[in-house]
Subunit: 335 residues, 2 copies
């Protein structure tokens, strides 16, 4: 890779797109030239980067000439159409959509876990689903020492996972509720003010698992390179703006103690332990927002497994950063 | 019990106290006389009941003369002090606090499960914790046919569980957030607007489980009369007003299918199945609010147990009704 690559951002006006630029600036990513791309209706807008306002260009088949790295976060349909175009033009694509994640030729990377897979890419590297990333960053240091047999996850997912429009809708719906005014939601399928609902990803009618849950299950097996790890997951959207929370119970092949987990996680990259029993202070979305680390707390033996093979955790991470933009930029840095 | 008992409500100005009166009215509970009781500072206020405004009296040692049934919901300290006084005065106490739940002499009753235990009372019958009730109403029909070995619960608990002041604080904190104004919380230990946090019940420093979780674990064993049932639970407060949600995974001694669970729950008292995969419509707090039934959906095999002994559910119920007032009134009806 060039020393000062030209970097395109596809989906530059989206919630993650904006964070791509912010992350690269903050981490001094050696961008030679930034090319913000979006749909035709965003032409005329600009993207803030290193004090400049860079005009957003329309995404077309010709957008990738001279581009070295293309960061995609504009949904799976756009990625399926334009990522191959970018690769053909000579760019390496880091794709935040689900389009290529399960492709056998596409590395699915969380740098703290499998940075070594990046070198196998054939033009596209996939960024995992945000709920997958939050869970796996703290589980990997455990899994690589004491193999995890079973994981049960309940998510408390923020509006940001559905994009900037969903975040705005949560705010607007809540305002309307508090003012006693009617509100017709357009982005989310259900009322969001002071309400929660089973994740709105498409439901598999046969299995009863939604698309978000299926991603967590499949991506965990791929990233851990352990097809036998058994994952149960319930994905729920809660009225929180931008950080995802997950209550996680794991069962290992060998006995495991709370002390083991604390020791493993205290030196784990990307993890910050927030676990103050005296003050009853544990990870919260407002504390994780705009933070790079995944916060982990409530570390304790799982009382549902008297055999001593199970522990429980509460995990919170910024969906837009480690759940999306930061993880992708970390991948790009390794290129 | 008299045909038209005199009923005292202890904690008449609280969120649950108000629901006691509403439930009795709606269910045509044959109240002869209603005696609303609260602290001295509530004297002068009234309680609405059957079109009348009944003056609230100060709770004193003499409040229970002539009272046949005393419904308590004013916290464990008040219950510990005044429930024995009420019993001595000849009343039967239905106590919504945690004060007596684990006493060997006190039946802990969910009428759909163990109404038969009511007759064993020695003056006090305890109403279980709201998170316990929501979980056990749908689990009992399964447990009595195919014994449950292990339960893992993640809760999404509403403000109402911390009382009317907590509900008001959620609203006020959210208003302040939306107006960009500072807000100092007084009821909850953490900011509540668009945030969530590990349940604020006192933490056991040794075990790492908070009081709410310990209640769910101990009460499940007592109500199911199964000391071996292994319960793991993570209790979390979410910014929702009055209905609790729980993601529940159970493992049974014998194999169990999704169809088994649907069949058991379709005829279960107090349960309404809301499980529309085609419309992606499942139980939500706004739908459960002010409803008597516990809503159950997302019924599916648990993908973390390939042996076919586990299923997962999403459960939502009104914390103030089935989680508190309704369950207590159902107990009183059986008296």
């Amino acid at each position: 890779m060039k020393k000062n690559p030209t970097v395109a951002i596809v989906g530059a006006t989206g919630a993650v797109g904006v964070e791509f630029a912010g992350c690269m600036e903050r981490r001094n990513f050696p961008v030679g030239k930034l090319v913000p791309l979006a749909s035709a209706r965003s032409v005329g807008k600009t993207m803030k980067f290193r004090g400049a306002d860079i005009p957003i260009q329309e995404l077309t088949e010709k957008s990738f000439e001279g581009v070295d790295i293309a960061m995609f976060s504009a949904g799976a349909t756009i990625s399926r159409k334009f990522a191959p175009v970018a690769v053909k033009a000579g760019a390496v694509v880091v794709d935040n959509s689900s389009a290529f994640r399960m492709d056998i030729d596409v590395p699915l990377v969380i740098p703290e876990i499998n940075a070594n897979r990046i070198k196998d890419h054939k033009g596209i590297i996939a960024n995992p689903n945000c709920a997958t990333i939050m869970a796996l960053v703290p589980l990997w240091p455990i899994h690589k020492v004491n193999r995890i047999k079973r994981v049960i996850i309940s998510t408390y997912q923020a509006a940001s996972g559905a994009g900037a429009a969903a975040m705005a809708e949560l705010v607007e719906a809540t305002k309307a509720y508090l003012e006693g005014k009617p509100f017709q939601q357009k982005v989310m399928p259900h009322p969001y003010a002071f309400n929660l609902f089973s994740h709105n990803a498409a439901m598999d009618l046969e299995t009863g698992y939604n698309g978000e849950e299926s991603k967590v299950i499949a991506e965990t097996k791929k990233i851990f390179e352990d097809p036998e790890i058994a994952v149960g997951v319930t994905c729920v959207r809660v009225p929180v703006l931008r950080a995802h929370t997950e209550a996680i119970t794991i069962e290992c092949y060998e006995p495991i103690t709370e002390a083991d987990v604390r020791k493993m996680l205290s030196v784990a990259p990307g993890v910050k332990i927030v676990d103050d029993r005296v003050k009853n202070y544990f990870p919260m979305p407002i504390d994780a927002s705009e933070q790079d680390d995944v916060l982990v707390g409530r570390i304790r033996p799982d009382t549902s497994d008297p055999s001593g093979h199970s522990v429980a955790l509460l995990v919170v991470g910024d969906q837009l950063l480690k759940g999306a933009a930061l993880n992708a930029i970390q991948i790009a840095e390794l290129l």
